[in-house]
Symmetry: C2
């Protein structure tokens, strides 16, 4: 057996059994080894951004990493934007990047590049494999790091480390170290401050703290003290819907975000970062809390966030308190809108018809900005979203979620401008017959940038600004593009047409795309 | 006026008047400034790989850099693969990457990343702008570097450096330093060795040495001594066709490349690298010349390559010698193939019908590997190709070439697997109504990898290898995809159909795509 076999075996013994792949010549021994392991599910992406975006969506739903197979520095470069999003979501991921044979690097062959320099900014862990015998230890380290840091790991596999032989060995799963727990002094201090600040305190959650149970526990604390609760602006996954905590996220538009936090004098972070503006704007603050607000981290990424919340609730005697903010079920089914279609009507129809236990992948950008807030009382669902602002994550994210959860309906809320960055992901949806409805908000513009241009004082656009902010000339025909990649698709221009298409898409299994002309 | 205005003015005064762009929020002031400069042509790409691939194609044909506008680290990450290709072609390019305002970086907002670490591997020059007054000097430096190193330059523009004001100033074009000339001792030494080695010597050219006149001069030297002549395996641009030097390139398949160079005992590099295998293969050498071959650089990238060749010819008294290897015109028009279509027939038809003064963009990978060699006696044309092995360059390269040369027909020879990486470039072809015929070799497989798998000893593919190497299920419908992006398209399944479509496409102006089912 060779290093590539060891790589596959090490992944499989640790229950990493999905590999999103876009291989090249330097990975042929890896591909040959994968071919000898039918228990590994290999999913091809026609572009590397599809590969890492899918690995991100997969791990957010499966709670374990997928492997990726990427080809040399330039192949990984194409994967970096969605690695960036995964890094911000702190998604466990094991990227395997093929490189030239160790002794070939000196020749500076055409595909040679500094992979480490490229990988570091978008990875929490980078490791170059030194020999075929080093493959097993490297993959084990990456696996542990992906789940404990947690985050994106990148392992560089020189071709000769894949093709040289290794001694056969009986492999065992690695024992994962326990997540770090928060010290008692911090718990006591936060508890005291929460009591002291009452309704002028807030708790901000992200990561595993946004699952049903820890959120509910945090909401018990809020009920006990009057504190508010927030999720970060962008998060890997939120479990939500009727009967769960109706947790507001921080808004993207800076004025709305400042408004949300203006009365908070004490902010407790649970895995979250201090909230800041997505961008800087002349004359506006960078931090979203006011200058007098005290910010304390109860727990950091890599800590056991649910346990920290429970410990805090215990300290406060709030573990049995009825939780605040629980979303009631809808009293009656809201009526469905009619007439010419617009973004709000699309959001309203999707929210109204949302199936129980579905997964929402949100890259709707400006069009669906209020969708999240409209869905608090919808049937229970998981909500996963663009996290790092690197657009082109939506279509792949849906791929990964659907691979992880084949029995659940995945609904992609997709802005058209953003969708074009990784449009190739539609082909993978067709290839794998994934159960995804993609709703494209076809406003034929980078709508978000129109607002940002006005924010810098430009209201009348000349030819150059129009050329750079509008994508209407020629109009993108999403139905043709989807069909070209094997995905059934149709266009809706009225609310009635959208409702009818969306119902039909929910009733069938397999990928379907609706171009919502708004 | 502000820093963004200064940026535009500095580009324009130096005759950089095309900006390939994919903007985001942090570049709004730059977009607003471009909107005030109608003399700057702004060309939108719906994905950043389109932007830098187009800038590469543009500069190869215009012999001056284009600017690009990219959005933060993740936006530039999407651009890196084609920056890598441009780096290998040593194409002049000025990338302007927007970043957060200087004072906002400390907050680690979602889109923040280490742009320098990402940029360095794919750039010859990286510079972060320090203030609005630093914008002008930084752009001037990048402009000079792009043309003298020559190569890819990346300038990081923090948002506040764009929006803060600058003192108005009368701008003048920068004076470009002369390219370095080769010292007389080197010329004498190379001349002596060429005389000594006779037919067992070879000259290997790249860069500006591959234009008509310097190639002809090199061929005079070859005529005088019996030396062979070669172009590198991959080159930015070659001027070729009947009446010009029929210069062979080094083959990609390693055994064929070794065969080409096996009798060369003395190799003179003119801007070129020592030829090496594109990849390492177990048991095969890395260098393509034999161990006893002496390799000497007559001139390095950044030297005045045409002047070095002329100096060498003068030293050898060969400036008037009749050049060797001049391709004769075709004696008679070859017959056009008929019957079921295959890759060779496509190449043959394109070669036969090639219009005078056209531009070939070659990313045909395995399907068109012999096309280059079939075209030595075709009407005169420019040949530009994938240089760094980072596939997904073909469609954007054609965009850039067509923007640079609006009066010339651009013909894209496009592998289907590679074409999918930057398929969004078709939309820019439609938006700008560029005169491009894209020929897609639709073999529905990563054909090159089938060969590479056999090279590692795998002949029977199981499910996983099949899933990763074939792209036939579902079949990509290029006609639908192209139409979805506004490009007229049709499919050919026979040689007769292909001939008819190709003739029609040549006869019209504007983009047209032919899916050649092979």
């Amino acid at each position: 057996m060779n290093g590539a076999d060891r790589l596959c075996d090490t992944l499989l013994v640790n229950d990493v059994d999905v590999c999103f792949a876009n291989p090249g010549t330097s990975e042929m021994h890896f591909v040959a080894a994968l071919d000898r392991k039918p228990q590994m599910r290999c999913v091809l992406g026609l572009f590397e951004g599809v590969v890492t975006g899918a690995a991100d969506g997969y791990a957010r739903m499966a709670d374990k990493p997928a492997a990726t197979l990427l080809h040399c520095g330039p192949g990984m470069a194409n994967a970096l934007a969605n690695m960036h999003n995964a890094r911000r979501a702190r998604t466990p991921m094991i990227n395997v990047v093929g490189d030239h044979a160790t002794y070939h690097l000196v020749h500076d062959a055409p595909l040679t590049s500094d992979i480490e320099s490229l990988a570091h900014p978008m990875s929490h862990f980078v490791r170059r494999i030194a020999s075929s015998e080093d493959v097993g230890p490297a993959i084990e380290e990456a696996y542990v790091a992906s789940l404990t840091l947690p985050g994106v790991t990148t392992v560089i596999l020189p071709a000769d480390c894949a093709w040289n032989s290794v001694e056969p060995a009986a492999l065992k799963p690695v024992k994962l170290p326990a997540l770090k727990s928060v010290d008692a002094a911090t718990i006591r201090e936060v508890a005291a401050s929460l009591r002291q600040h009452g309704a002028r305190a807030a708790i901000m959650l992200t990561g595993l703290a946004l699952r049903e149970k820890p959120m509910e526990m945090a909401a018990r604390i809020c009920a006990a003290t009057g504190a508010q609760i927030f999720a970060q602006m962008s998060n890997g996954r939120i479990q939500r819907g009727a009967g769960r905590v109706a947790i507001p996220k921080i808004h993207y538009p800076i004025d709305k975000a400042l408004e949300q936090l203006k009365d908070v004098d004490y902010l407790v972070l649970v895995g979250a970062q201090t909230p800041v503006g997505f961008f800087a704007y002349p004359g506006k603050p960078g931090r979203l809390v006011h200058d007098g607000c005290e910010v304390t981290a109860l727990a950091q990424p890599g800590d056991d966030l649910p346990a920290a919340i429970t410990a805090l609730a215990e300290e406060m005697g709030a573990t049995k308190t009825a939780p605040a903010f629980i979303a009631p079920p809808r009293k009656e089914q809201p009526g469905l809108p009619t007439g010419p279609l617009d973004a709000d009507k699309v959001c309203s129809i999707v929210s109204t018809l949302l199936p129980e236990n579905s997964i929402i992948c949100d890259e709707s950008v400006s069009s669906g900005r209020m969708f999240y807030f409209d869905c608090h009382s919808a049937p229970q669902h998981d909500y996963i979203q663009l996290t790092g602002g690197a657009i082109g994550e939506g279509i792949p994210l849906a791929v990964g979620a659907a691979v992880a959860c084949p029995d659940r309906k995945v609904i992609g809320m997709q802005a058209d401008g953003s969708g074009m960055y990784t449009v190739q992901g539609l082909w993978t949806q067709a290839r794998e017959n994934l159960d995804i409805v993609t709703v494209v908000f076809a406003n034929r513009t980078y709508q978000i940038l129109h607002g940002e241009m006005r924010a810098v004082g430009v209201n009348d656009f000349g030819r150059n600004a129009t050329q750079m902010l509008n994508i209407d000339e020629p109009a993108l025909d999403w139905v043709s593009m989807a069909k070209g990649m094997g995905v059934e698709a149709a266009r809706a221009t009225t609310a009635e047409e959208f409702t009818s298409l969306f119902k039909a898409a929910l009733a069938k299994k397999g990928p379907f795309l609706i171009e919502a002309a708004i």
